[in-house]
């Protein structure tokens, strides 16, 4: 699991019969009902669907944040299911970056320190200042989250996610808490980063229009995939409105 060379022959992720059940007995909730999916390496993939359709659950499982109930999940040629907690931790540490809807910055750390939180444990990280420059926050590296606007906080979160130069970038509603202009600038940053690093980007969103910037759009409903659409005419974030 130490190679960072993208193997274009293998999909980034393959799932077979992926099932996730919360609770048991009568109160059991089926969040995922046997999902079969392949996600090609290096693409921007958008997961669309209403609340409770299972898209965030899928993201959590393939991101190594949660465990599934049944089925198999492969990251390249490695099975994620059956990995020990220690192996999952190593997987997240070395391969995966996360961007969350509510930024999830450490309020007691400055922008640079929030990025350092990740560069410190990653194998081959960028310089934290470089990562912040990439998201246009060079001038605000010593500010605390409370001193930054929502868009700026989300950009710090993105800088933090890309600073480790991850193979996969998971974005859970990255613009969910932002106005459209700020959201657009955040998407711009994501698109640039994808281009520069060649990472696979998985993005969960409510906003169907954001799917226009994706290579591939997966529609979710009731815990399963309703359809997968390949996008032949990718738009730039600036061309998107929501």
């Amino acid at each position: 699991m130490n190679t960072k060379t993208p193997d274009t022959m293998l999909p980034a992720y393959t799932t077979r019969g992926l099932t996730k059940v919360y609770g048991e007995g009568r109160s059991a909730v089926h969040a995922l009902r046997g999902v079969n999916l392949e996600i090609p390496t290096g693409e921007i993939v958008v997961l669309l669907g209403p609340s409770g359709s299972g898209k965030s659950t899928l993201l959590n499982i393939i991101g190594g944040l949660d465990r599934h109930t049944e089925g198999t999940v492969m990251f390249r040629d490695q099975r994620l299911d059956g990995m020990s907690y220690a192996d999952l931790t190593r997987y997240r540490r070395n391969h995966v970056g996360f961007v969350f809807q509510f930024y999830n910055l450490m309020p007691s750390l400055t922008a640079r320190e929030n990025v350092e939180l990740v560069t410190e444990i990653a194998d081959d990280p960028m310089d934290p200042d470089e990562a912040l420059a990439l998201v246009g926050l060079k001038a605000r590296t010593d500010h605390f989250p409370a001193q930054l606007s929502g868009g700026e906080q989300q950009r710090v979160a993105i800088a933090r996610a890309i600073a480790k130069q991850p193979d996969v970038l998971f974005c859970d509603e990255p613009t969910g808490a932002l106005d459209s202009a700020t959201g657009r600038s955040v998407l711009r940053v994501l698109a640039d980063v994808d281009k520069r690093l060649g990472s696979t980007v998985l993005m969960v969103t409510h906003a169907a229009s954001q799917a226009k910037m994706a290579d591939r759009v997966i529609h979710f409903a009731d815990g399963d995939i309703r359809e997968i659409v390949e996008n032949r005419e990718k738009r730039t974030p600036e061309e998107i409105a929501w």
Binding site: N60, G63, L65, D66, R67, Y85, A86, T89, R90, Y91, R92, R93, N94, V96, F98, F100, N104, M106, S108, L109, E113, N114, E116, L117, V118, E120, I121, A122, A146
Partner: protein, 787 residues
Amino acid sequence: MSPLDHKLLRDLWRIKGQAGAIGAVIAVGVMMLVMMTGLTASLSETRDAYYERYRLAGVFAPVARAPEQLAERLTEIQGVSSVETRVQGRALIDLPGQVLPVQAQAVSLPDRGRPALNDVYLTDGRMPATGRPDEILLLQSFAAAHDLRPGDTLRATMDGARRSFDIVGLAQSPEFLYTTAPGELVPDDARFGVIWMVRSGLAAAYDMDAAFNEALLGLTRGASEASVLDAVDRLLEAYGGSGTYGLADQFSNRFVSEEILGLEAAAVGVPPIFLAVAAFLLYIVVGRMVQSEREEIGLMKAFGYTNAEVGTHYFKLILAIAAGGALAGCLGGIAAGRALIGVYTAYFKFPFLVFQLDPASFATGVTVSILSASAGGLFVLRRVFALTPAVAMRAPAPPNFSRTSRIGQSLNRFLDQPSRMVLRRLTRQPGRMAGSVIGIACGMALSVAMLTIYAGFDRTIDLTFSVVDRSDVTVSLTHPVADKTLFELMRMPGVERVEPVRNVSVVFRNGLKGHRGALIGLPQGRELNRALDASMTPIDLPERGVVLSDVLAGMLGVSPGDTLTVDVREGRQPLLQVPVAATAQTLLGSPAYMDLDALNHILREPGRISGAYLMIDDAEAEAIYTALQDMPTVAGVSLKSQAREAFVTLMNQGAGAIRYVMGAIAFVITFGIVYNAARIALAERARDLASLRVIGFSKGEAAFLLLGELAVVTAVALPVGALLGYYLSFGIAAGFSTDLYQIPATFDPVSYGQATLVVLVAALMSGSLVKRDLDRTDLIEGLKTRG
């Protein structure tokens, strides 16, 4: 510095109030440990060094009159390394301006050179010159109490003859660290003096030429004290030996050792209570932090931080608080130890100070506080480990309050919404509620216990000097005399009542257990000195049998109905078998009472008394004192008012003084606990309170939610704390009680009222501090906080 360490420092700064309060609780626990172990180590080291340097004897053998040649035979006893014979006797010192003469003990020094045993430490002046029977050394503390110094003259009566002496020096001695007048228990520098003079001079005064009336023996290493005592007793029997005793029974040593033991007991018993409370608080505070930082923990895990790395981060926080507190405690302990050791050294009258801060106590203090803090922290870490990243980052489901809707459904009609919220929250999370209640109850218990102890000290004084002893003056006689002396006393103008007493020095034995003490014979129908039982009613002294104090019965392991061996150490020295008739609660000393006639009967000395209790008219006091002084059989006169004063002084110094330190600490802790409980409640409610403010509640209305909870918790904690305090006070009272005096842990409503007040004041102060913070809360920030 890693970003996590930055976070650590900023977290510490953010919770500085709570961290400080917990650190302070840990600090006082460690401070007490370091201070008290340092103090006891220093005192026992100093005592031992003092005894060794001035060659304090291991065995003391008083005798009526033994020829000097006997010293040789004493040396031959197996286990005896050195022997010093001397002459000693009672004297009365006349001080200018004082009607009552002061009792004193005269002790001989060798004509040439220093004594082989029980040497003196000269603090001022010089030793008496050879062949100068008019030169004396005076006990330094007595001299200080009366402002006497070398060059002054002193008038004293020895064996009936009045003489004048030149004070040439002042001295301290390891055998007179504590001095009391004969028959009294409480030391008083001013009322008992010690005079040293050359042997030939003293022998002439007491008719002891070529004889001695006390032998001091040093023991070889590993010698059997019991067999030496036996051998000496046998040897001196024919010469009127009145009972050989070891160092453990020597009055001054016993007193000093008791005090040191009392300190040691407190050093072992008290700090753990403080440390346990601190561990509990740490658990609550760090647990709360982990709860509020679920997201951050989840995030760190999402980034690939391992459980160990995340756990270490929070553990460092716990360690920082514990180590900070422990360090402050060590420094505080050193400072307090240094400050107090000086006081104690003066109190114990040690001429020098072997200052010793026990390094082991630092190690113990730091280790114990870190371990106890870690114990609290471990429960928290378990929760950190259990959080999976995805779960951690989801907002926790709102706590289920559905069950609580039934509780108090009937009350709902009478309660508004905020009151219902308070009630439901308290009933929904009984665990948390119990945590806060127990915390505050601990503070209440500490306060109750300490205030009960204060009251116990007062009660001991009050009972001893108002209920048990109701006389004004105690007269002790030179030897048992016929009871017609009572008529002489009664005839004095101003004497309102006279009651006889007979003190017989004895050794009580039960199997291997023994105790040197006195049998006190009291008459029937007495009013002035009474033996009381536990319910403070006078005990009937039966026609036969002895009534023992609880303490003495405990020491000897006997109870009513058993038979006790009484080895009488005066007169004909009979060995008696006496039944134990009853036990009595006494607060001062460990007396044994008998009916006066019964006592005289078993001694076959009818109608004898050795002293008397007098009730007098204050207006005639001076005339009475003068008359007493002129009675040749009167050895000493002591006033109850002086004895009471001496006792109060005793209890306010030494080990007794520690109670004020502990009381202050108990109050600090009580406040720390209540303040923490309030802070935690605020942190947990911040979101609810901000929501209420947003929908239009006033600051006061929002505060009601928080302070209402604190009020309910405090109200529940008060009775729980009172109950805990009731039991805790027994433990602490036992720690403060010594062989010399007992501190009762009796229910004292005033103490409970005061303790309640302490907790309420702490709650009000904490409440207002927390309300201030609440009023400053940024509404938007508050809304972001997870509840």
